[in-house]
């Protein structure tokens, strides 16, 4: 039942609004609303009960294993939440003067330094509000760099076919044309194809490493050399940074620009869709183009925020204020809790978990997409054999996993691999949990063999059965309408 359907005319949660309404303000009649918007009229208890009940319909890290490939769903330490919500931070107006915000600024400055250290870049901007905005900032910097050199012909961005969809979308938003580079059969970029694509129009390349295929791009140094030789820049998509954190750095691989998903690698919560944060880091020659604001420590130890007058070549601002500060604070707390050794340990155990899970599934007879490769922090299973043998799709198996109490891995991505599951266990899950997942996969395959309708009709134990996405798209129902307003807008 929708909250709107619980509504009764005249019901209120009166403690939440000013008790005495003042006179209606003197707004000219023709600018005034003629009828009240139809919003829920419910009591406070109804609100609490309704949304508490809805929350229980979600899977989440706090309740289930969530091996969603490319999403790094690891434990979100609760202290990060508590400490980011301290009154001094949470009540601060974005336009309050910086000399009254030295505590906040010091955290953000230190986060910049920590991100420099883990990425191997020379400068960081925390401004981007999410990974995709970080990507956009990255390609805008590529654009600004070439333009600043008067190099206006570089209109192409190279992107491997296995890339996240945000890569080409960000390149397009920045006004670039996208040129897709194929992947070789071993999962690495097809270097010959890459070389043949290079030319005077090459602005740069967007790469993630380890790639979305769950393997480390071994020829990264050759790629960097080729791109740079062609006058292009290398952009690192930080979505998979968790797989190398503390082991190898994008800066050392030759990348010029990197973004980091703090809501992945730095464990800030995903919140059912966000907010995230996507700081960008750059090599020194790109520092002038970083998006604003930036935090600087002055010689006197005070912190100040850099603006357009400090950084006239900046690509500009991406949100009205300083980005998702509350998320940045959570990431800062996380980084301090882990410290140098802890951050250096993340990838080790993320990769250990992924390799263990892959080895167990492989031993159980499942098919790895790249069996000859070392697994990074995630890996791809192709369920083509099962689909062929039992007529059960990867999606059916994913849905059936929900019944077993595990969130499904990413399905049908990357598009290169048929009937695939992209599985990322992360370092915060225990061996027991991984073993449980393997047992569930084995049990589901047995079901697929013996009673294929079971997975095909899954899920069975969730608040709803399989939802009809086609129906949703064909009979668009995007907003509840009250009966009375149907006439107006229906």
């Amino acid at each position: 039942m929708l909250i709107q359907e619980r509504s009764r005319p005249g019901r209120r949660a009166p403690a939440q609004a000013p008790l005495c309404a003042p006179e209606p303000p003197p707004i000219p009649e023709h600018l005034r609303r003629s009828s009240r918007p139809v919003l829920p009229e419910v009591s406070e208890l109804e609100v609490v009960r309704h949304y508490t009940g809805l929350s229980q319909k979600n899977f989440s890290i706090d309740t289930q294993f969530y091996p969603l490939g490319s999403c790094t769903m690891k434990y979100n330490p609760r202290a990060c939440h508590t400490l980011a919500m301290l009154p001094g931070f949470v009540d601060r107006h974005p336009l309050a003067p910086e000399d009254q915000g030295q505590g906040l600024s010091s955290c953000l400055y230190e986060l910049q330094e920590i991100l420099k250290a883990v990425t191997g870049m020379d400068a960081i901007s925390l401004a981007p509000a999410a990974g995709a905005q970080g990507e956009l900032a990255g390609v805008l910097m590529i654009r600004a760099y070439h333009h600043a050199r008067g190099d206006l012909e570089r209109t192409e961005i190279l992107i491997p076919d296995a890339a996240h969809g945000t890569n080409p979308a960000s390149a397009a938003m920045a006004g670039f044309e996208v040129r897709e580079i194929p992947t070789g059969p071993d999962g690495d970029v097809d270097l010959a194809a890459l070389r043949s694509a290079l030319g005077p129009k090459t602005a740069g390349i967007m790469l993630t490493n380890p790639s979305t295929l769950g393997v480390f791009e071994r020829k990264i140094q050759a790629i960097a050399e080729a791109i740079h030789a062609a006058g292009g820049l290398l952009y690192y998509d930080g979505a998979n940074l968790n797989g190398i954190l503390g082991q190898v750095r994008p800066g050392d691989m030759g990348f010029d620009i990197v973004h980091v998903n703090l809501h992945k690698t730095f464990a800030t919560p995903h919140g059912g869709g966000g907010p995230g944060a996507g700081p960008v880091g750059v090599a020194a020659h790109l520092a002038p183009y970083l998006p604003l604001p930036l935090v600087e420590r002055a010689a006197d130890g005070r912190y100040r925020w850099l603006t357009e007058s400090d950084r006239p070549q900046s690509i500009g601002r991406l949100t009205a204020f300083g980005g998702n500060i509350g998320v940045l604070l959570r990431a800062y707390v996380y980084a301090r809790l882990l410290g140098r050794e802890g951050l250096g340990r993340v990838a080790k155990f993320a990769v250990l978990n992924a390799n263990y899970l892959a080895a167990r599934l492989r031993a159980a007879g499942f098919t790895l997409a790249y069996p000859e490769r070392r697994v990074s922090h995630e890996f791809i299973l192709t369920l083509k054999p099962e689909a062929k043998a039992f007529g059960v799709s990867a999606m059916d198996i994913a849905k059936r996993l929900l019944d077993y109490g595990h969130h499904a891995p990413t399905t049908y991505f990357p598009l290169l691999v048929p009937e695939c599951l992209l599985i990322e266990p992360t370092e915060t899950e225990s061996k027991q949990t991984l073993d449980d997942f393997v047992e569930a996969m084995i049990a589901i395959r047995r079901e697929a063999e013996q009673d294929p309708e079971l997975p095909k009709n899954a899920p069975h134990h969730l608040p709803v059965r399989r939802l009809d996405e086609v129906h949703a798209a064909r009979h668009l129902d995007l907003a509840w309408r009250s009966k009375s307003s149907e006439g107006d807008h229906g």
């Binding site: 929708l2 709107q4 209120r12 003042p22 006179e23 609303r33 918007p37 919003l39 829920p40 009229e41 406070e44 949304y51 508490t52 929350s55 899977f59 890290i61 706090d62 769903m73 690891k74 434990y75 009154p87 001094g88 009540d91 336009l95 309050a96 509000a129 999410a130 995709a132 945000t166 979308a169 938003m173 996208v178 140094q221 190898v248 691989m253 059912g272 869709g273 966000g274 907010p275 601002r317 949100t319 509350g326 980084a335 301090r336 809790l337 140098r340 951050l343 340990r345 250990l352 390799n355 070392r374 899920p459 608040p463 709803v464 949703a472 798209a473 668009l476 995007l478 907003a479 807008h489």
Partner: protein
């Protein structure tokens, strides 16, 4: 090992299953010369107790100021329920609801939010958030250019009486696609954007006209005339609105003869703390005909195999993970949790509660403006009707005055001098429902004393 559950036995067993003797071997595909020896320049781990002490000390450095600034971020009462529920692990630690059956909580919340925003704006559809109000406006511009099939113009009219930071963000995000923003001046007398000024921009056609209600100065625009002008010139009308104000103001869907085409804005006033600037959430609504051009996630109501109602992400073909370079936007991670807060907030307030909040903000700002204007040399910049912000001109340099106020613990307003030198010295002030008459009186008293010392 912080947050890593592996025991030595676990590690040994796992390595045996993998068939390697050490974790380091698992990185053997990485060129050896690239491998890091260890991280540097990062401090050692702290316990939660130590981090708590550190963060409490830093938070205490950040002095609370009595706040009379709005300018895009508003200090409203947030019911205790909002974050106690939105902070529940099942909302807080869930991913984007790709697996709909395992995400009915988040999906239904987002559908309810879309419904509430559609009701507030009197438009047909809403998305499930953009990063903030400024980036939402930029996305609205991009959307309007895509959606407008009547003209090939890539020119968009943008009022000068619109938040300066928003104008900068729109420029950052739309210039790469060759979109030209043409600034429309405001009337010095009223603070409104005159319809005549649109015509004076000197273009026959444009892709869109941005209409800001209330505008940056808190002044109410003649939205009907502006909307009709846009439609008469083949442009789409983009409304940039404050959701609290919509409790009292004519909704974008009813502006002019045909209504605005797109409405967007900042959802922060709906249950999001100031938090130094974020996370907030941008919202966007539109007419049915444009829904396939909407950027961002959209939730639809559908049915399951048993015919029961359920919710799912829909129209995903617009999005980057399907359409890639041809998507309506590159946005992926958005501000979902903030919408959970906004939905709970709106459910608690209802239309009548929202009206009370809006009316109280208006009354408090009116009182503030009256009290401050009673000080010699202080006077309203504009004559137009206002919502809950007011531009006041000062008899002394605004930066110095604000600095002196901060020394008294008062955040006295947004300094208009930098972005609007033509108004300087001037402040933009705001008093939400949180400001009391006593606090307003305190501000007036302190400002009066400060200005007296400047004379």
């Amino acid at each position: 090992m912080s947050f890593i559950p592996h025991t030595p036995e676990d590690i040994a067993e796992m390595l045996a299953v993998i068939g390697v003797s050490a974790i380091d071997t698992l990185f053997d595909e990485i060129p050896a010369d690239l491998r890091l020896k260890g991280l540097e320049n990062i401090p050692e781990a702290l316990s939660e107790l130590e981090v708590t002490r550190l963060m409490q000390a830093r938070a205490r450095l950040d002095r609370p100021l009595l706040n009379f600034v709005g300018a895009g971020a508003y200090e409203h009462h947030i019911p205790a329920v909002v974050w106690q529920i939105a902070g529940r692990g099942e909302f807080y630690s869930a991913y984007t609801p790709y697996q709909a059956e395992a995400s009915q909580g988040t999906l239904q919340v987002l559908y309810e939010f879309q419904s509430m925003m559609a009701a507030l704006t009197a438009l047909d559809a809403a998305n499930a958030s953009l990063y903030d109000g400024a980036s939402a406006l930029a996305e609205a511009v991009l959307m309007a250019v895509r959606a407008n099939r009547q003209t090939h113009s890539r020119q968009v009219l943008i009022p000068r009486a619109l938040h300066p930071a928003y104008r900068r963000v729109v420029r950052t995000l739309t210039a790469p696609q060759g979109i030209e923003l043409i600034e429309v001046p405001f009337a010095r007398q009223t603070g409104q954007t005159p319809v005549a000024a649109l015509a004076e921009a000197g273009i026959d056609e444009c892709a869109a006209v941005i209409i800001n209600q209330p505008n940056f100065f808190g002044v109410l625009e003649e939205v009907d005339a502006l909307t009709d002008w846009a439609h008469a010139h083949k442009a789409l009308a983009i409304a940039l609105v404050n959701p609290i104000a919509l409790a009292l103001l004519k909704p974008p869907g009813e502006w002019g003869a045909k209504g605005a085409d797109i409405a967007c804005g900042e959802a922060q006033p709906l249950g999001m703390p100031l938090s130094a600037g974020g996370p907030y959430a941008g919202f966007m609504c539109c007419k049915r005909e444009h829904v396939r051009q909407l950027p961002g996630r959209i939730v639809g109501r559908t049915i399951d195999r048993d015919g029961r109602t359920g919710f799912t992400l829909t129209l995903q073909a617009r999005e980057q993970h399907i359409r890639r370079g041809k998507a309506t936007s590159n946005i992926c991670t958005n501000q979902g949790l903030m919408l959970t807060a906004a939905t709970i907030h709106l459910a608690l307030l209802g239309a009548e509660g929202l009206e009370r909040v809006a009316a109280t903000c208006c009354a408090h700002t009116r009182l503030l403006a009256e009290r401050l204007s009673a000080i010699p040399g202080v006077k309203p910049c504009f004559s137009g009707p206002c919502f809950h912000e007011r531009a006041l001109s000062l008899p002394a340099p605004s930066a110095a005055v604000l600095k002196a106020l901060v020394a008294e613990g008062i955040l006295g307003g947004f300094d208009l001098a930098q972005d609007y030198p033509e108004l300087a010295p001037a402040l933009l002030v705001c008093a939400t429902e949180l400001r009391t008459a006593d606090e307003i009186a305190l501000y007036a008293e302190r400002l009066s004393a400060i200005l007296a010392s400047h004379r």
